[in-house]
Symmetry: D3
Subunit: 318 residues, 6 copies
């Protein structure tokens, strides 16, 4: 282990409820310089069409992430030994101006990318993924492994508004940020607007694995396909907390019953090993609608699962 | 699609939190005339022996049903195109007089039946199903597909009271409203009063599929049997929300751990296609005991699942 | 009483938890034609700089308003006999586009004004008052009686954004919608950004009565001054729920301890008799932050208090 | 102190969260024999016309009463030294049969009266006071000191039902249980059905002190009048928790803003010294609507205040 | 059935919300004499390193256990006919002195053991199992079947403190209370401090079945191994509620996503038949962090499952 | 203003929900060097005899303190201009060892005192004040202005334990940390153990102003006396949040109805100007029992009120 790597506070010395609340009890830093992976909050929900609140997601995921320990129970990955990781705070946002909000988020993430670090983001609503992709995929389109109840490839809302949390991946494809042939969406379910609602996405080449297909095939088979789609090229991973069942993640804006168990989701994320992850996020955790902090805990743990995969891959490639 | 059919408000134009709260954002109507399926509330819990609150079920299921979209994700059924559906409001009730309460509910449902519409009811406690059956099965006994943790075929409570939410199906059989040979109860579990608690029910010919049997066989096999029991004859479908696990439906009066996941329940309801449904309900959603609205959301979604099946069958038979 | 006036559902016949949820259990209408006072929701919080959620205010105030009865306990005013009142539903809104949101709200209220009715609005955040004033004060500036913890006369946020819930009354004065000499703000309290934070407001002629002054003088004396400031000319009344103490109204975005009791607030509203109210609102009720519905109940009751005053004045002027 | 008197568990030895939950940590007894004052639960809300839940009141008031200590802070009354007091458990109830419910409650209280003890009851909704009065006032009409937001002297509901929690005192007067000239109602407020809603009550001779009058006069003056009305004759004291402000008692079925503070209520109850209290109750605590147990705590403390007064008067008369 | 055995209150006569709250509505007794199985609370969380609150576990498990009926739904075991069972109240505890707390708990359980009864304990945090084992295993080491997310075999915290809820089983082995060869831990999961965190435990001979292994093998296979490990010798069963998924048991101090469903846990407990259970507990139910009582309900039901197994084995051995 | 003074984040640039959560959005520092006033958390509740949870107080008070602005509304004090203030994080604690916990807290505060800064502490339970006093009053006894429902001068609990949150001020006097003649306790109320419970305190010379006396005299008169008692000598100010009414501060371990309104408490704290405050704290905020964060908001605002007074006095003395 590189002795210069940031380390979390030791809960056997300082209890978990003590001290300032940072992601996984890591030091708070103000610059991405020197980091391999930057944990960063995006407290913004300006694209939310129904129940807002994901702006409060980073703070509560920080709080609940105090329950994380250093080592992954299955892979034994020790991410803070494998990579230099810290809490970079939150990007600048603008809660009342959608376009300015998008610009600020992009700028914040671009700074991380420029420093050579990989962003692991805590949203925010799912529209926040669009400016993150603008920063991460500026050089070339990337692939996408996308866990969600919803495809988020709708076109416009409320009379021609192109930017909502229901549209980021349509926009990202239109902007050339994603290679649609390398996009897979897993867990799609819930009632839809039109029988052919996912027609556009499928035409682009997006692979949609519905919840029903997932139930048939199971995590291993599905993830084998997902890894094949991502191929060995730069890929973004986005985890919408509403992919989980509302019993496990009630604190979200667009809950759909019949979702993943956390056990299924963890099984899938643990199969991301080897994927060239250039950025990742956990989005749509909405604390005002949460009960008992369980959604934020699920979100924070998914961040830890992603971190372990990302740090492991980084270390192997070094 | 018949252009005269009622349509829900479009969430891409009017956000889901806006406007009066009706079932699935449909128009509120005051007469069942012209409807194929009437969504109707039964805000009454006069038969509740322990924790009351199901009287508030219709209002909260209306609220949460604003999350429903128009089309079923798996079958692609578009119920509002296949049938004329609307929110008929709530039947008249009497919260302090049990017998008058039952009479008012029966009268309200009888009006729907007389108009040639099929009632899809939002309870209320499970005793509300008795007066609904009195209205729906006046002409001849009907079959019953019954999802529940409890058989609800007890005899009397508190010194000879025959009407509680633990007794409706015993009364319905005694009154000739149900053909016990065409009754199947699915998901029965939880501690019982007597080792032979279900003896009477089984003697009548009711088929009880316990949770343990369900776990062994799975949704498809169980529902094949249920459809066979219902045969191709008039059948009522009743969904007690406590058939779901309390983690998915905490807001109910008699929770029992070890219940259905919503995924299992959805799988079963989706296998009702072709059943001649003459009425249906979702009961025992008790908002004062709910957390984060998740029980009402589950209940509203089960109503949508039932609606899609009912509208599809109606359209095919037309 | 004009027999054509709309009447609420009778709770001695239909229990309060039954039926569709409308303001004060009045009929839902789709046109303001024929109304004297239109109860209307403005489910929009696009100007909120911190904790969103007021978009859900109208729905929950409708729910809680089911506890209102027909007659005022002190004045014995019977508003539904004195004036024709109904629930006009919600104005059109746009949750993701601030300027379009403002335009839609203004258009919705303008329709009410054009029909000769007075709007009594349920917000929404406090920025919603700006487009309401644009509709109500189009012809001439109006006076303002403003209950609030905050003056809401700040200038810009987040780098020059002129429209937030902290700026509506500065904008309204700049736009000539308010006569600043006829503006009184009551209950101002809580920490401030600058020692001279209210300098601009005072320069315009706005009279600010702080909480400390209120505590010294009491409701009667303060309201005598407020009525004198409003004079006998067209006046708007805006009630920000955060003027109440957070123990009585926790469900709001910017709570400040040390607020009005509901008893004090009721005492003040009851002293509005005779004021020429051309519109009124109750804003900043944020259900996701509410506990036990108490904020929405307070908001709905304040609407009832305002309604009684408005209907009484209308009747006397007839 | 009589060494035979029951004593509460000592919190300096056994922490308040430990042990079975009884009223004020007193021993649970099964017979009223030998008691001076019997603390008894009436877990019944069969007369509730809107939001049920008061059936759960006794259990939660028992829980919160574990915070009570032995001695009154102002009067220094030590009720458990002055009188023999115990927790008699709950009377028998019937949640689904109104008339049987009333009969069971009356029988349970009659047993206490027959044993020569005075009942101090934890409701239950306010209709429970009627059968208690039938037991307590069997021999002769009693006076009533009544704290409430509502007069509860309505006539019928839902088409001629005479028994609801809105009618107990009309029935009690009709049945000759109360001497209306010795009835005083304090704190009446909230919107009403008819301008002359309290006409019948006033015609009988009931003295109604509205909240507005209370605010003018204050606790001392009001209670001087109340004591004069009660005179030196047998009197029942009933405390409806909705007399308190909803910020202090949100957990109740019919909240009305603008209520008593607990400080005001305590001040009034402390002025009951010398009144010949033949029974008392705290009603309408509804735990499913409570937040943080604060309503049950207020209810339990009001029971303690009543107990101190009752024990003190008993001791002085001995 | 022995007519002298204690029986629970009959819910068909006395509703579940009525009466004092005891475990499974059994009589409260003050001595273990004559009991076969003593239900006893241990309201203590002095070993908790993060979120306290398990001290309130017994009271809330008592409350929720009022939902239990007399007979097991699958085995038809009727525990109150098979064995003499009662609620013995809570052992003495000391919330502010760790060592005195441990001593008091041991003394309380030793009294039960001395009377020839088997303790079935409601914790309390997991450190409470240590003093229980000191009482139960005084004569000889016992085996352990341990359901938990965590191994709880850490060494010290906060600078050499040997007693926390993360260390009881290390201490128990060191003290010779457990035969490590007869210890099996099931459901272990969640991030860990060190890659070899369970090394010490495995060296002692403890068999750790991780959640991942459980998912592969299923309840039957796992429990066959567990029974073989326990062999036909005295065995303690400890059920940490955090072995359940946080969606089913949010009210606990150290939640870990990806846990058992209650259905899985019930399936496992039902396979304990024949094991020579000398004591058992359900621990770490923390009501202040619970939502809607669902954790306490799960805990109470697990106590009932354990009771049925214990009573059945006792009866067979008689 | 000294340009080197730490300044809070500007909410007109960075919304209040963004960024790491520190007291009043000040910079987090790791050394008290250069500070005039150190905001410091004491996350410890090891002395709590009933409901724990105050260990989580600092984190939630930090969260809610994000609502504070820079300037006091009445005095116009701008504390961050008048003094150098920062968030020093939390002192080291030990949740499972009472004596070690006290030692760590004392050491942490002693470091602040040694650096010449004044500690403004966020508890923690009230026993935390004892080690703070050991650090602050090491050189000479100090005076105490103490807002509380309870005197906290009891002697021992649970068989001779001298250290609980009910005993700190008896210990502090015995240890010579307080000059009892300069101690005033304000707001004492609630039932007591013994009629002469406060006898010891009064014998030492402590002045106890009960809630009843406060109601008679009002804030100004009471605080004039308090200032006279404190005289112009070093004084500690301790604010137990349970001095507030439970409607305003439900999140605390020992709530007593009939407490201060926040308005009254603010009025009193604003009258502390000129007192030589050598340290201060706000204690007993218990987030697990809070509802809607209102207790933490009240606590954070009281910290701001104290800060303004302390900074103002410092500046004037400079």
């Amino acid at each position: 282990m590189n002795p210069a790597f940031h380390q979390p506070v030791d809960a056997a010395q300082v209890p978990r409820f003590a001290g300032l609340s940072t992601f996984m009890r890591l030091p708070a830093v103000t610059s991405p310089a020197g980091l391999d992976i930057a944990l960063v909050g995006i407290p913004w929900d300006g694209g939310t069409t129904n129940r807002a609140g994901a702006r409060h997601g980073p703070r509560e995921m920080r709080n609940q992430s105090s329950l994380m320990r250093r080592v992954h129970p299955v892979t034994k990955a020790a991410p803070f030994s494998l990579a230099n990781v810290a809490d970079l705070g939150d990007v600048s946002v603008n809660p009342i101006d959608l376009l300015d909000g998008l610009a600020r988020i992009e700028a914040g993430i671009a700074e991380i990318v420029a420093a050579g670090a990989i962003p692991l983001c805590a949203g925010g609503d799912h529209l926040t993924t669009l400016p993150v992709l603008r920063a991460v995929a500026k050089a070339r389109p990337v692939g996408l492994i996308h866990f969600d109840a919803h495809s988020d490839t709708n076109d416009t809302y409320f009379g021609n508004n192109p930017y909502t949390h229901g549209t980021p991946f349509r926009r990202a494809i239109e902007e050339g940020l994603l290679d649609p042939k390398r996009v897979v969406q897993i867990g799609i379910r819930g009632s839809i607007y039109e029988p052919d609602e996912h027609g556009w996405a499928r035409e682009q080449g997006i692979r949609i694995i519905t919840m029903e297909e997932f139930v048939q095939r199971g995590p291993s088979d599905v993830m084998a396909e997902a890894r094949a789609i991502a191929a060995d090229q730069p890929t973004y991973v986005t985890f919408d907390i509403d992919s989980l069942d509302p019993s496990m993640a009630p604190g979200t804006g667009t809950p759909e019953i019949g979702g993943f168990t956390t056990r299924e989701a963890q099984a899938m994320l643990r199969l991301l090993g080897g994927v060239d992850v250039v950025g990742a996020d956990v989005v749509e955790v909405s604390p005002p609608f949460d009960v008992g902090g369980m959604t934020a805990l699920a979100g924070a743990t998914m961040m830890f699962e992603l971190l372990c995969v990302m740090a492991g891959t980084l270390a192997r490639r070094r």
